[in-house]
Subunit: 301 residues, 2 copies
Protein backbone atom coordinates (compact mmCIF):
# COMPACT_ATOMS: atom_id res chain seq x y z
CA UNK A 1 0.00 0.00 0.00
CA UNK A 2 1.49 3.34 -0.98
CA UNK A 3 2.03 6.24 1.43
CA UNK A 4 -0.52 8.32 -0.46
CA UNK A 5 -3.11 5.59 -0.05
CA UNK A 6 -2.47 5.41 3.70
CA UNK A 7 -2.95 9.20 3.92
CA UNK A 8 -6.23 8.91 2.02
CA UNK A 9 -7.51 6.33 4.45
CA UNK A 10 -6.45 8.44 7.42
CA UNK A 11 -8.33 11.37 5.92
CA UNK A 12 -11.41 9.25 5.25
CA UNK A 13 -11.36 8.26 8.90
CA UNK A 14 -11.08 11.89 9.99
CA UNK A 15 -14.03 12.79 7.79
CA UNK A 16 -16.03 9.87 9.17
CA UNK A 17 -15.28 10.98 12.72
CA UNK A 18 -16.60 14.46 11.93
CA UNK A 19 -19.73 12.95 10.39
CA UNK A 20 -20.25 10.83 13.51
CA UNK A 21 -19.94 13.92 15.72
CA UNK A 22 -22.54 15.74 13.61
CA UNK A 23 -24.86 12.74 13.57
CA UNK A 24 -24.77 12.41 17.33
CA UNK A 25 -25.32 16.16 17.75
CA UNK A 26 -28.30 16.01 15.38
CA UNK A 27 -29.70 13.10 17.37
CA UNK A 28 -29.20 14.92 20.67
CA UNK A 29 -30.83 18.12 19.40
CA UNK A 30 -33.81 16.18 18.08
CA UNK A 31 -34.19 14.28 21.35
CA UNK A 32 -34.41 17.63 23.14
CA UNK A 33 -37.45 18.50 20.97
CA UNK A 34 -39.90 16.90 23.34
CA UNK A 35 -43.00 18.70 22.06
CA UNK A 36 -42.36 18.09 18.39
CA UNK A 37 -45.11 16.53 16.25
CA UNK A 38 -44.43 12.80 16.17
CA UNK A 39 -45.02 12.20 12.47
CA UNK A 40 -42.83 15.15 11.56
CA UNK A 41 -40.13 13.85 13.87
CA UNK A 42 -40.16 10.54 12.01
CA UNK A 43 -39.85 12.33 8.68
CA UNK A 44 -37.10 14.62 9.99
CA UNK A 45 -35.15 11.64 11.32
CA UNK A 46 -35.65 9.81 8.03
CA UNK A 47 -34.21 12.69 6.01
CA UNK A 48 -31.30 13.24 8.40
CA UNK A 49 -30.28 9.61 8.67
CA UNK A 50 -26.84 8.21 8.13
CA UNK A 51 -25.78 8.38 4.52
CA UNK A 52 -25.07 12.12 4.22
CA UNK A 53 -21.35 12.86 3.86
CA UNK A 54 -21.65 15.90 6.16
CA UNK A 55 -18.99 17.76 4.23
CA UNK A 56 -20.36 21.21 5.06
CA UNK A 57 -20.32 20.30 8.75
CA UNK A 58 -16.77 18.96 8.46
CA UNK A 59 -15.62 22.24 6.86
CA UNK A 60 -17.20 24.13 9.75
CA UNK A 61 -15.65 21.92 12.42
CA UNK A 62 -12.18 21.96 10.85
CA UNK A 63 -12.26 25.75 10.50
CA UNK A 64 -13.13 26.11 14.17
CA UNK A 65 -10.37 23.65 15.11
CA UNK A 66 -7.89 25.45 12.89
CA UNK A 67 -8.33 28.90 14.44
CA UNK A 68 -8.93 27.89 18.05
CA UNK A 69 -7.23 24.50 18.45
CA UNK A 70 -10.45 22.72 19.40
CA UNK A 71 -14.11 22.11 18.58
CA UNK A 72 -16.38 23.90 21.02
CA UNK A 73 -20.05 23.37 21.82
CA UNK A 74 -21.14 26.24 19.56
CA UNK A 75 -19.37 24.67 16.59
CA UNK A 76 -21.07 21.32 17.21
CA UNK A 77 -24.47 22.98 17.21
CA UNK A 78 -23.58 25.13 14.20
CA UNK A 79 -22.43 22.04 12.29
CA UNK A 80 -25.76 20.36 13.02
CA UNK A 81 -27.62 23.53 11.98
CA UNK A 82 -25.89 23.76 8.61
CA UNK A 83 -26.69 20.10 7.91
CA UNK A 84 -30.33 20.75 8.80
CA UNK A 85 -30.39 23.58 6.26
CA UNK A 86 -28.64 21.46 3.65
CA UNK A 87 -31.08 18.60 4.24
CA UNK A 88 -34.13 20.89 4.09
CA UNK A 89 -32.87 22.17 0.72
CA UNK A 90 -32.60 18.60 -0.60
CA UNK A 91 -36.10 17.70 0.64
CA UNK A 92 -37.64 20.74 -1.08
CA UNK A 93 -35.47 20.41 -4.21
CA UNK A 94 -36.63 16.81 -4.64
CA UNK A 95 -40.35 17.78 -4.63
CA UNK A 96 -42.38 17.04 -7.79
CA UNK A 97 -42.77 20.77 -8.54
CA UNK A 98 -38.99 21.23 -8.26
CA UNK A 99 -36.46 18.61 -9.43
CA UNK A 100 -39.00 15.78 -9.01
CA UNK A 101 -36.59 13.16 -7.76
CA UNK A 102 -37.30 9.71 -6.33
CA UNK A 103 -33.96 8.78 -4.82
CA UNK A 104 -31.76 10.58 -2.28
CA UNK A 105 -28.87 9.28 -0.20
CA UNK A 106 -29.73 5.80 -1.43
CA UNK A 107 -33.33 5.92 -0.18
CA UNK A 108 -36.71 7.07 -1.51
CA UNK A 109 -36.98 10.86 -1.26
CA UNK A 110 -39.05 12.30 1.60
CA UNK A 111 -42.20 12.87 -0.49
CA UNK A 112 -41.95 9.29 -1.81
CA UNK A 113 -41.41 7.74 1.62
CA UNK A 114 -44.13 9.89 3.22
CA UNK A 115 -46.19 12.29 1.07
CA UNK A 116 -45.79 15.67 -0.55
CA UNK A 117 -47.37 17.71 2.24
CA UNK A 118 -45.17 15.99 4.82
CA UNK A 119 -42.09 16.72 2.70
CA UNK A 120 -42.96 20.41 2.44
CA UNK A 121 -43.55 20.65 6.19
CA UNK A 122 -40.44 18.58 7.00
CA UNK A 123 -38.28 20.97 4.99
CA UNK A 124 -39.90 23.94 6.71
CA UNK A 125 -39.36 22.31 10.10
CA UNK A 126 -35.67 21.58 9.45
CA UNK A 127 -35.02 25.16 8.32
CA UNK A 128 -36.79 26.57 11.37
CA UNK A 129 -35.04 24.16 13.73
CA UNK A 130 -31.63 25.23 12.41
CA UNK A 131 -32.26 28.76 13.63
CA UNK A 132 -33.85 27.56 16.85
CA UNK A 133 -30.82 25.54 17.93
CA UNK A 134 -28.46 28.40 17.11
CA UNK A 135 -30.55 30.74 19.29
CA UNK A 136 -30.82 28.26 22.16
CA UNK A 137 -28.89 30.55 24.53
CA UNK A 138 -26.16 27.99 25.09
CA UNK A 139 -24.13 29.81 22.46
CA UNK A 140 -23.06 33.29 23.53
CA UNK A 141 -25.57 35.77 22.00
CA UNK A 142 -22.95 37.89 20.21
CA UNK A 143 -21.66 34.72 18.49
CA UNK A 144 -25.14 33.28 17.91
CA UNK A 145 -26.45 36.31 16.00
CA UNK A 146 -23.40 36.27 13.74
CA UNK A 147 -23.94 32.57 13.01
CA UNK A 148 -27.64 33.09 12.33
CA UNK A 149 -26.94 36.06 10.09
CA UNK A 150 -24.35 34.12 8.07
CA UNK A 151 -26.61 31.08 7.71
CA UNK A 152 -29.70 33.09 6.75
CA UNK A 153 -27.82 35.14 4.15
CA UNK A 154 -26.18 32.09 2.60
CA UNK A 155 -29.40 30.07 2.54
CA UNK A 156 -31.81 32.84 1.56
CA UNK A 157 -33.07 34.56 -1.58
CA UNK A 158 -29.68 36.19 -2.12
CA UNK A 159 -27.98 32.81 -1.77
CA UNK A 160 -29.01 29.16 -1.99
CA UNK A 161 -32.66 29.86 -2.83
CA UNK A 162 -31.61 32.30 -5.57
CA UNK A 163 -29.39 29.59 -7.03
CA UNK A 164 -32.18 27.06 -6.94
CA UNK A 165 -34.63 29.48 -8.59
CA UNK A 166 -32.13 30.30 -11.34
CA UNK A 167 -31.36 26.60 -11.76
CA UNK A 168 -35.03 25.81 -12.41
CA UNK A 169 -35.39 28.75 -14.79
CA UNK A 170 -32.30 27.65 -16.70
CA UNK A 171 -33.71 24.20 -17.52
CA UNK A 172 -33.98 23.58 -21.23
CA UNK A 173 -32.39 26.96 -21.87
CA UNK A 174 -29.09 28.04 -23.36
CA UNK A 175 -26.48 27.96 -20.59
CA UNK A 176 -23.78 30.61 -20.49
CA UNK A 177 -20.71 30.56 -18.29
CA UNK A 178 -21.99 33.66 -16.48
CA UNK A 179 -25.31 31.99 -15.64
CA UNK A 180 -23.48 28.80 -14.65
CA UNK A 181 -21.30 30.70 -12.18
CA UNK A 182 -24.30 32.58 -10.79
CA UNK A 183 -26.27 29.38 -10.21
CA UNK A 184 -23.49 27.35 -8.66
CA UNK A 185 -22.03 30.16 -6.56
CA UNK A 186 -25.46 30.75 -5.06
CA UNK A 187 -26.79 27.21 -4.96
CA UNK A 188 -23.71 25.51 -3.54
CA UNK A 189 -20.61 27.63 -2.96
CA UNK A 190 -22.16 30.19 -0.62
CA UNK A 191 -23.19 27.47 1.84
CA UNK A 192 -19.62 26.14 1.82
CA UNK A 193 -18.36 29.68 2.42
CA UNK A 194 -20.93 29.98 5.20
CA UNK A 195 -19.72 26.72 6.77
CA UNK A 196 -16.18 28.09 6.83
CA UNK A 197 -17.37 31.43 8.22
CA UNK A 198 -19.46 29.79 10.95
CA UNK A 199 -16.54 27.60 12.01
CA UNK A 200 -14.22 30.60 12.05
CA UNK A 201 -16.72 32.65 14.08
CA UNK A 202 -17.19 29.80 16.59
CA UNK A 203 -13.42 29.65 16.97
CA UNK A 204 -13.18 33.45 17.41
CA UNK A 205 -11.03 33.87 14.31
CA UNK A 206 -9.35 37.16 13.45
CA UNK A 207 -10.82 39.15 10.56
CA UNK A 208 -7.93 38.07 8.33
CA UNK A 209 -8.47 34.39 9.18
CA UNK A 210 -12.22 34.73 8.65
CA UNK A 211 -11.83 36.32 5.22
CA UNK A 212 -9.27 33.76 4.13
CA UNK A 213 -11.44 30.81 5.22
CA UNK A 214 -14.50 32.34 3.51
CA UNK A 215 -12.58 32.48 0.24
CA UNK A 216 -11.39 28.91 0.76
CA UNK A 217 -14.99 27.82 1.37
CA UNK A 218 -16.27 29.53 -1.75
CA UNK A 219 -13.60 27.88 -3.93
CA UNK A 220 -14.00 24.35 -2.60
CA UNK A 221 -17.77 24.82 -2.83
CA UNK A 222 -17.50 25.52 -6.54
CA UNK A 223 -15.02 22.68 -7.00
CA UNK A 224 -17.45 20.40 -5.14
CA UNK A 225 -20.29 21.40 -7.47
CA UNK A 226 -18.18 20.78 -10.58
CA UNK A 227 -17.40 17.30 -9.24
CA UNK A 228 -21.13 16.79 -8.68
CA UNK A 229 -21.93 17.80 -12.24
CA UNK A 230 -19.21 15.53 -13.63
CA UNK A 231 -20.40 12.58 -11.53
CA UNK A 232 -23.96 13.11 -12.76
CA UNK A 233 -22.81 12.35 -16.28
CA UNK A 234 -20.28 9.62 -15.44
CA UNK A 235 -21.57 7.56 -12.48
CA UNK A 236 -24.54 5.26 -11.81
CA UNK A 237 -27.47 5.90 -9.47
CA UNK A 238 -26.51 2.87 -7.45
CA UNK A 239 -23.13 4.40 -6.88
CA UNK A 240 -24.34 7.95 -6.21
CA UNK A 241 -27.35 7.13 -4.04
CA UNK A 242 -29.38 9.55 -6.16
CA UNK A 243 -30.67 9.53 -9.71
CA UNK A 244 -27.82 9.83 -12.24
CA UNK A 245 -27.89 11.49 -15.65
CA UNK A 246 -30.77 13.64 -14.50
CA UNK A 247 -29.15 17.01 -15.13
CA UNK A 248 -28.49 16.17 -18.75
CA UNK A 249 -32.04 14.92 -19.32
CA UNK A 250 -33.46 18.12 -17.81
CA UNK A 251 -30.96 20.09 -19.96
CA UNK A 252 -29.70 21.75 -16.79
CA UNK A 253 -27.05 24.42 -16.86
CA UNK A 254 -24.06 22.37 -15.61
CA UNK A 255 -20.29 22.61 -15.96
CA UNK A 256 -20.00 19.67 -18.39
CA UNK A 257 -22.90 20.94 -20.53
CA UNK A 258 -21.53 24.49 -20.79
CA UNK A 259 -17.75 24.00 -20.63
CA UNK A 260 -17.33 20.36 -21.62
CA UNK A 261 -15.76 17.68 -19.42
CA UNK A 262 -12.13 18.57 -20.05
CA UNK A 263 -12.47 22.28 -19.24
CA UNK A 264 -14.65 21.43 -16.23
CA UNK A 265 -11.86 19.25 -14.83
CA UNK A 266 -9.32 22.01 -15.45
CA UNK A 267 -11.44 24.56 -13.63
CA UNK A 268 -11.95 22.16 -10.74
CA UNK A 269 -8.18 21.71 -10.47
CA UNK A 270 -7.58 25.47 -10.64
CA UNK A 271 -10.10 26.19 -7.87
CA UNK A 272 -8.58 23.44 -5.70
CA UNK A 273 -5.09 24.87 -6.18
CA UNK A 274 -6.31 28.33 -5.25
CA UNK A 275 -8.12 26.97 -2.18
CA UNK A 276 -5.00 25.15 -1.00
CA UNK A 277 -2.88 28.24 -1.61
CA UNK A 278 -5.17 30.34 0.59
CA UNK A 279 -4.40 28.00 3.49
CA UNK A 280 -0.74 29.09 3.50
CA UNK A 281 -1.79 31.78 5.97
CA UNK A 282 -2.02 29.00 8.57
CA UNK A 283 1.35 27.38 7.89
CA UNK A 284 1.24 23.62 8.37
CA UNK A 285 -1.79 23.71 10.67
CA UNK A 286 -4.40 23.48 7.92
CA UNK A 287 -3.64 19.92 6.82
CA UNK A 288 -7.22 18.71 7.25
CA UNK A 289 -8.67 21.49 5.10
CA UNK A 290 -5.95 20.91 2.52
CA UNK A 291 -6.73 17.19 2.44
CA UNK A 292 -10.40 17.98 2.09
CA UNK A 293 -9.84 20.20 -0.95
CA UNK A 294 -7.75 17.46 -2.58
CA UNK A 295 -10.22 14.73 -1.66
CA UNK A 296 -13.09 16.67 -3.27
CA UNK A 297 -11.07 16.76 -6.45
CA UNK A 298 -10.90 12.98 -6.41
CA UNK A 299 -14.42 12.32 -5.18
CA UNK A 300 -16.25 9.45 -6.80
CA UNK A 301 -19.64 9.97 -5.12
CA UNK B 1 -73.41 57.61 15.61
CA UNK B 2 -73.08 55.97 19.00
CA UNK B 3 -70.08 56.34 21.30
CA UNK B 4 -69.22 52.66 20.80
CA UNK B 5 -69.16 53.14 17.06
CA UNK B 6 -66.83 56.15 17.36
CA UNK B 7 -64.50 54.07 19.54
CA UNK B 8 -64.55 51.29 16.95
CA UNK B 9 -63.52 53.70 14.23
CA UNK B 10 -60.74 55.11 16.39
CA UNK B 11 -59.53 51.57 17.02
CA UNK B 12 -59.72 50.70 13.32
CA UNK B 13 -57.53 53.72 12.64
CA UNK B 14 -55.02 52.63 15.26
CA UNK B 15 -54.89 49.17 13.73
CA UNK B 16 -54.45 50.65 10.26
CA UNK B 17 -51.59 52.82 11.50
CA UNK B 18 -49.83 49.75 12.87
CA UNK B 19 -50.37 47.94 9.58
CA UNK B 20 -48.88 50.91 7.72
CA UNK B 21 -45.83 50.89 9.97
CA UNK B 22 -45.33 47.18 9.32
CA UNK B 23 -45.84 47.57 5.59
CA UNK B 24 -43.26 50.35 5.35
CA UNK B 25 -40.81 48.32 7.47
CA UNK B 26 -41.32 45.30 5.21
CA UNK B 27 -40.72 47.49 2.18
CA UNK B 28 -37.57 49.00 3.71
CA UNK B 29 -36.17 45.59 4.67
CA UNK B 30 -36.82 44.24 1.18
CA UNK B 31 -35.19 47.27 -0.44
CA UNK B 32 -32.08 46.54 1.61
CA UNK B 33 -31.91 43.08 -0.01
CA UNK B 34 -29.88 44.28 -2.96
CA UNK B 35 -28.55 40.89 -4.02
CA UNK B 36 -31.87 39.08 -3.88
CA UNK B 37 -33.02 37.08 -6.92
CA UNK B 38 -35.29 39.39 -8.92
CA UNK B 39 -38.05 36.91 -9.69
CA UNK B 40 -38.22 35.81 -6.08
CA UNK B 41 -38.32 39.45 -5.00
CA UNK B 42 -41.39 39.98 -7.18
CA UNK B 43 -43.08 36.94 -5.71
CA UNK B 44 -42.16 37.97 -2.16
CA UNK B 45 -43.55 41.47 -2.74
CA UNK B 46 -46.67 39.98 -4.28
CA UNK B 47 -47.36 37.80 -1.24
CA UNK B 48 -46.60 40.58 1.24
CA UNK B 49 -48.67 43.24 -0.45
CA UNK B 50 -51.34 45.39 1.16
CA UNK B 51 -54.37 43.37 2.14
CA UNK B 52 -53.00 41.53 5.18
CA UNK B 53 -54.53 42.77 8.41
CA UNK B 54 -51.16 42.53 10.21
CA UNK B 55 -52.85 41.58 13.46
CA UNK B 56 -49.88 39.57 14.74
CA UNK B 57 -47.61 42.56 14.11
CA UNK B 58 -50.06 44.89 15.84
CA UNK B 59 -50.11 42.64 18.92
CA UNK B 60 -46.32 42.75 18.96
CA UNK B 61 -46.13 46.52 18.59
CA UNK B 62 -48.83 47.19 21.20
CA UNK B 63 -47.12 44.87 23.69
CA UNK B 64 -43.83 46.71 23.22
CA UNK B 65 -45.60 50.07 23.60
CA UNK B 66 -47.43 48.86 26.68
CA UNK B 67 -44.35 47.81 28.63
CA UNK B 68 -41.91 50.48 27.46
CA UNK B 69 -44.07 53.44 26.43
CA UNK B 70 -42.85 53.42 22.83
CA UNK B 71 -42.15 51.34 19.73
CA UNK B 72 -38.43 50.86 19.21
CA UNK B 73 -36.49 49.82 16.14
CA UNK B 74 -36.25 46.20 17.30
CA UNK B 75 -40.01 45.95 17.61
CA UNK B 76 -40.50 47.32 14.10
CA UNK B 77 -38.16 44.69 12.69
CA UNK B 78 -39.69 41.96 14.84
CA UNK B 79 -43.18 42.93 13.65
CA UNK B 80 -42.03 42.65 10.05
CA UNK B 81 -40.37 39.30 10.81
CA UNK B 82 -43.52 37.78 12.31
CA UNK B 83 -45.54 38.88 9.28
CA UNK B 84 -42.93 37.28 7.00
CA UNK B 85 -43.35 34.01 8.90
CA UNK B 86 -47.15 34.29 8.82
CA UNK B 87 -47.07 35.00 5.08
CA UNK B 88 -44.68 32.12 4.37
CA UNK B 89 -47.07 29.80 6.21
CA UNK B 90 -49.98 30.98 4.03
CA UNK B 91 -47.97 30.52 0.82
CA UNK B 92 -47.02 26.95 1.75
CA UNK B 93 -50.48 26.12 3.19
CA UNK B 94 -52.10 27.19 -0.08
CA UNK B 95 -49.98 24.79 -2.17
CA UNK B 96 -51.76 22.03 -4.13
CA UNK B 97 -50.27 19.32 -1.89
CA UNK B 98 -51.50 21.15 1.19
CA UNK B 99 -54.81 23.07 1.33
CA UNK B 100 -54.81 23.60 -2.45
CA UNK B 101 -56.27 27.10 -2.45
CA UNK B 102 -56.64 29.56 -5.32
CA UNK B 103 -57.46 32.76 -3.49
CA UNK B 104 -55.66 34.61 -0.70
CA UNK B 105 -56.05 38.17 0.52
CA UNK B 106 -58.35 38.80 -2.44
CA UNK B 107 -55.75 37.74 -5.02
CA UNK B 108 -54.66 34.52 -6.73
CA UNK B 109 -52.44 32.50 -4.38
CA UNK B 110 -48.69 32.59 -5.01
CA UNK B 111 -48.56 29.30 -6.91
CA UNK B 112 -51.46 30.46 -9.11
CA UNK B 113 -49.94 33.89 -9.82
CA UNK B 114 -46.45 32.40 -10.39
CA UNK B 115 -45.94 28.62 -10.27
CA UNK B 116 -45.59 25.91 -7.68
CA UNK B 117 -41.79 25.89 -7.55
CA UNK B 118 -41.74 29.66 -7.11
CA UNK B 119 -44.30 29.42 -4.30
CA UNK B 120 -42.23 26.79 -2.47
CA UNK B 121 -39.08 28.89 -2.81
CA UNK B 122 -40.89 32.13 -1.91
CA UNK B 123 -42.13 30.59 1.32
CA UNK B 124 -38.64 29.30 2.08
CA UNK B 125 -37.19 32.74 1.34
CA UNK B 126 -39.67 34.57 3.60
CA UNK B 127 -38.99 32.20 6.48
CA UNK B 128 -35.24 32.59 6.07
CA UNK B 129 -35.48 36.36 5.72
CA UNK B 130 -37.43 36.64 8.98
CA UNK B 131 -34.44 35.22 10.87
CA UNK B 132 -31.95 37.23 8.82
CA UNK B 133 -33.52 40.59 9.69
CA UNK B 134 -33.72 39.68 13.38
CA UNK B 135 -30.00 38.82 13.36
CA UNK B 136 -29.01 41.92 11.45
CA UNK B 137 -26.93 43.26 14.34
CA UNK B 138 -29.04 46.43 14.66
CA UNK B 139 -30.94 44.70 17.43
CA UNK B 140 -28.87 44.09 20.54
CA UNK B 141 -27.65 40.44 20.39
CA UNK B 142 -29.07 39.41 23.76
CA UNK B 143 -32.50 40.64 22.65
CA UNK B 144 -32.14 39.26 19.11
CA UNK B 145 -31.45 35.67 20.19
CA UNK B 146 -34.49 35.71 22.47
CA UNK B 147 -36.66 36.96 19.60
CA UNK B 148 -35.27 34.34 17.21
CA UNK B 149 -35.72 31.59 19.77
CA UNK B 150 -39.36 32.60 20.42
CA UNK B 151 -40.15 32.85 16.71
CA UNK B 152 -38.49 29.56 15.79
CA UNK B 153 -40.18 27.65 18.59
CA UNK B 154 -43.63 29.08 17.81
CA UNK B 155 -43.27 28.51 14.05
CA UNK B 156 -41.53 25.13 14.14
CA UNK B 157 -42.41 21.45 14.43
CA UNK B 158 -43.50 21.92 18.05
CA UNK B 159 -45.71 24.86 17.02
CA UNK B 160 -47.25 26.15 13.80
CA UNK B 161 -45.91 23.36 11.60
CA UNK B 162 -47.17 20.74 14.07
CA UNK B 163 -50.61 22.35 13.91
CA UNK B 164 -50.59 22.35 10.13
CA UNK B 165 -49.50 18.70 9.99
CA UNK B 166 -52.23 17.66 12.43
CA UNK B 167 -54.77 19.79 10.52
CA UNK B 168 -54.01 17.91 7.30
CA UNK B 169 -54.12 14.53 9.03
CA UNK B 170 -57.46 15.41 10.63
CA UNK B 171 -59.18 16.00 7.29
CA UNK B 172 -62.12 13.70 6.73
CA UNK B 173 -61.60 12.28 10.20
CA UNK B 174 -63.60 12.37 13.39
CA UNK B 175 -62.76 15.61 15.22
CA UNK B 176 -62.55 15.61 19.00
CA UNK B 177 -62.28 18.67 21.20
CA UNK B 178 -58.82 17.56 22.30
CA UNK B 179 -57.59 17.34 18.71
CA UNK B 180 -59.25 20.65 17.90
CA UNK B 181 -57.42 22.39 20.73
CA UNK B 182 -54.12 20.79 19.75
CA UNK B 183 -54.45 21.91 16.15
CA UNK B 184 -55.54 25.46 16.82
CA UNK B 185 -53.23 26.08 19.73
CA UNK B 186 -50.29 25.04 17.57
CA UNK B 187 -51.42 26.35 14.20
CA UNK B 188 -52.59 29.77 15.32
CA UNK B 189 -52.46 30.58 19.01
CA UNK B 190 -48.74 29.98 19.55
CA UNK B 191 -47.84 32.59 16.93
CA UNK B 192 -50.11 35.11 18.66
CA UNK B 193 -48.43 34.25 21.96
CA UNK B 194 -45.08 34.62 20.21
CA UNK B 195 -46.11 38.07 18.91
CA UNK B 196 -46.93 39.17 22.43
CA UNK B 197 -43.68 37.69 23.78
CA UNK B 198 -41.57 39.34 21.09
CA UNK B 199 -43.18 42.73 21.75
CA UNK B 200 -42.65 42.31 25.47
CA UNK B 201 -39.01 41.29 24.95
CA UNK B 202 -38.38 44.28 22.67
CA UNK B 203 -39.83 46.54 25.36
CA UNK B 204 -37.71 44.90 28.06
CA UNK B 205 -40.74 43.67 30.00
CA UNK B 206 -40.45 42.18 33.47
CA UNK B 207 -40.94 38.40 33.76
CA UNK B 208 -44.43 38.95 35.21
CA UNK B 209 -45.42 41.24 32.33
CA UNK B 210 -43.99 38.81 29.79
CA UNK B 211 -45.91 35.85 31.22
CA UNK B 212 -49.13 37.78 31.39
CA UNK B 213 -48.85 39.01 27.79
CA UNK B 214 -47.99 35.48 26.59
CA UNK B 215 -51.20 34.19 28.16
CA UNK B 216 -53.13 37.08 26.63
CA UNK B 217 -51.65 36.26 23.22
CA UNK B 218 -52.54 32.58 23.48
CA UNK B 219 -56.15 33.37 24.38
CA UNK B 220 -56.78 35.96 21.68
CA UNK B 221 -55.05 33.65 19.22
CA UNK B 222 -57.55 30.90 19.96
CA UNK B 223 -60.43 33.40 19.88
CA UNK B 224 -59.13 34.64 16.53
CA UNK B 225 -59.11 31.08 15.15
CA UNK B 226 -62.65 30.41 16.35
CA UNK B 227 -63.76 33.59 14.55
CA UNK B 228 -61.93 32.34 11.44
CA UNK B 229 -63.72 28.99 11.59
CA UNK B 230 -67.10 30.67 12.10
CA UNK B 231 -66.49 33.06 9.20
CA UNK B 232 -65.56 30.14 6.94
CA UNK B 233 -69.08 28.75 7.32
CA UNK B 234 -70.93 32.08 7.34
CA UNK B 235 -69.22 34.54 4.97
CA UNK B 236 -68.58 34.74 1.20
CA UNK B 237 -65.22 34.47 -0.58
CA UNK B 238 -65.67 37.97 -1.95
CA UNK B 239 -65.98 39.24 1.59
CA UNK B 240 -63.14 37.15 3.08
CA UNK B 241 -60.61 37.53 0.27
CA UNK B 242 -60.10 33.75 0.42
CA UNK B 243 -62.15 30.72 -0.50
CA UNK B 244 -65.14 30.31 1.85
CA UNK B 245 -66.80 27.08 2.99
CA UNK B 246 -63.59 25.23 2.28
CA UNK B 247 -63.06 23.81 5.76
CA UNK B 248 -66.48 22.17 5.74
CA UNK B 249 -65.93 20.66 2.29
CA UNK B 250 -62.58 19.22 3.38
CA UNK B 251 -64.27 17.98 6.58
CA UNK B 252 -61.66 19.85 8.58
CA UNK B 253 -61.54 19.72 12.32
CA UNK B 254 -62.96 23.17 13.15
CA UNK B 255 -64.77 24.72 16.11
CA UNK B 256 -68.19 24.84 14.38
CA UNK B 257 -67.85 21.24 13.13
CA UNK B 258 -66.86 19.86 16.53
CA UNK B 259 -68.67 22.14 19.00
CA UNK B 260 -71.42 23.65 16.87
CA UNK B 261 -71.82 27.38 16.19
CA UNK B 262 -73.42 28.35 19.47
CA UNK B 263 -70.83 26.70 21.71
CA UNK B 264 -68.06 28.06 19.49
CA UNK B 265 -69.36 31.60 20.05
CA UNK B 266 -69.56 30.98 23.78
CA UNK B 267 -65.98 29.75 23.92
CA UNK B 268 -64.83 32.72 21.87
CA UNK B 269 -66.53 35.07 24.35
CA UNK B 270 -65.01 33.23 27.32
CA UNK B 271 -61.47 33.41 25.90
CA UNK B 272 -61.92 37.12 25.15
CA UNK B 273 -63.12 37.83 28.69
CA UNK B 274 -60.13 35.95 30.10
CA UNK B 275 -57.75 37.82 27.81
CA UNK B 276 -59.17 41.19 28.85
CA UNK B 277 -59.00 40.17 32.50
CA UNK B 278 -55.30 39.35 32.17
CA UNK B 279 -54.66 42.94 31.14
CA UNK B 280 -55.72 44.22 34.57
CA UNK B 281 -52.06 43.89 35.55
CA UNK B 282 -51.44 47.01 33.47
CA UNK B 283 -54.26 49.13 34.89
CA UNK B 284 -55.75 51.45 32.29
CA UNK B 285 -52.64 51.42 30.05
CA UNK B 286 -53.66 48.36 28.02
CA UNK B 287 -56.62 49.95 26.22
CA UNK B 288 -55.31 49.07 22.74
CA UNK B 289 -54.87 45.37 23.57
CA UNK B 290 -58.27 45.34 25.25
CA UNK B 291 -59.87 46.90 22.17
CA UNK B 292 -58.10 44.36 19.98
CA UNK B 293 -59.49 41.43 21.96
CA UNK B 294 -63.00 42.86 21.67
CA UNK B 295 -62.60 43.71 18.01
CA UNK B 296 -61.55 40.13 17.21
CA UNK B 297 -64.77 38.96 18.81
CA UNK B 298 -66.72 41.11 16.38
CA UNK B 299 -64.60 40.49 13.32
CA UNK B 300 -66.40 40.02 10.06
CA UNK B 301 -63.38 39.15 7.88
Amino acid sequence: MSAARITDTAFDNQLRQKAQLVNSTLQRLLTQQTEIDNNLKKAIEYTLQGKGKRIRAAVLLWCCELVSGKINHGAEVAAAAIEMVHTYSLVHDDLPAMDDDDLRRGLPTCHKAFDEATAILTGDALLTLAFEVLANRVIEPAIAVRLISQLAMAAGAAGMIAGQAADLRAENGQGTQELLEYIHTNKTAKIFRCAAAMGAICGQATEAELECLCEYGLKIGLAFQIADDILDVSASADHLGKTAGKDARAAKCTYPSVLGLEKSRQLQQKLTNEAVKLLELFGGKAQALQNLATALLQRTR
